[in-house]
Amino acid sequence: MKTNAFAYVRADTVPDALRLYAEAGEDARYLAGGQSLMAALNFRLDEPSTLIDITRVAALRGIVADADAIRIGALTRHADVADSAVITAELPLIHAAIGHVAHPAIRNRGTFGGSVALADPAAEMPACVLALGGVMEIAGQDGTRHVPADAFFLGTYETALAPGELLTGVTIQRPAPGSRWGFAELARRAGDYAMAGLCLMIAPDRRDARVVFFSISDRPVRARAAEAAIIAGASVIEVAAVATDGIEVYGDLNAGIATKRHYASVLLRRELARLDQQEAAA
């Protein structure tokens, strides 16, 4: 037994969860898939007073698509996102990225919303949501509010979620037909956190571009200079040259700042070159 002693309570509905949090206070934590939280507790990196188990809130599970958008319920497990025909067909960026999220046994428990709400700067799902311009649906005592991904990720493990608020789902507009996408990451070992990672979305005729790097800063970050260069019709080499311009890059145990800048640029160059080849072949 490695965790501190905490109270365990189970919520059956979202209002139930919010009420339990209000009763327990700010030292309470919501328990979703637990694949980061339980490890953190076993390390005693966190010592909550209460765990509010939301895993049985059925309304938070599942993927729903309508004509314009796809909504991924916060408690949809990574394995179910990976198996979803809608995600595979409509949001192939997420389908490609999800195989890089840890290992099969972890994907069987870990949840999409848990990963987004935790906002680990090295995680794939927050970067995908940012690249796809997702909108977070957040439940709180005062009702539901919506926050776009651009305003959601604020720092390492820091988001726009206020204490007690619960991420209930993420809505993503269907990319325009003919949009191109790319995903790549560099990790020392399969299943490990990336040393640098890239999510890329380019609208038809380069009308728009979203270039997101993860694991190089304190949060998933948009590469605005590279986006502008893509839209302006710059070459692969020119875009890659400005890959991390304007981004505050952080080093970690695996790679220093200069190395991360280099990796990010290489990933962008490779993916853009691959897309160019794909387009030329088509």
């Binding site: 037994m1 637990g34 339980m38 490890a39 076993n42 290992h103 099969p104 972890i106 428990r109």
Partner: protein, 160 residues
């Protein structure tokens, strides 16, 4: 609090704390010590069991979360008379274990793989077992054992 779940086909109940991990419940309360604890942080895979048919790491799941679930552990793999399952037999035949510490998790992960993909390629086996670490580094024979258990021709897919 009291938890009740089905473990290897039998209904099991016990008193747990909120913080009791599923692996602790299995080992300390039910005395099913085949499931091992390696890292307590989801990295090594020694604690893999099946919950409702899916492989999970029992060191990062609370016993309370498994209330009402169907759990399968390594103890349920062999027949009651001790006859090994084909997968376990393949681990023995192909020397898929050395010290044996990782073996319960390896077998449970491999069983989950074969349930969803009965004829995996060598690459698929290696990819699926990413979350199971063998510190004897006996991976080649573990992969061979899983491929043999899948009924495939080993020379055609043998580890390099």
């Amino acid at each position: 609090m009291k938890v009740t779940m089905t473990v290897n086909g039998a209904t099991c109940s016990g008193e747990v704390e909120g913080r009791t991990l599923l692996v602790s419940f299995l080992r300390d309360t039910l005395h099913l010590t085949g499931t091992h604890v390696g890292c307590d942080t989801s990295q090594c895979g020694a604690c893999v069991v099946h919950v409702n048919g899916r492989a999970v790491k029992s060191c990062t799941m609370l016993a309370a979360e498994a209330e009402g679930a169907t759990v399968a552990t390594i103890e349920g793999m062999a027949d009651a008379d001790g006859t090994l399952s084909p997968l376990q037999q393949a681990f023995q035949d192909h020397h898929g274990l050395q010290c044996g510490f990782c073996t319960p998790g390896m077998v449970m992960s491999a069983a989950a793989l074969l349930a969803e993909n009965p004829k995996p390629t060598e690459h698929e086996v290696r990819h699926y077992l990413e979350g199971n670490i063998c510190r004897c580094t006996g991976y080649h024979n573990i992969v061979k054992a899983v491929l043999a258990a899948s009924g495939q021709d080993l020379p055609a897919v043998a580890a390099e």
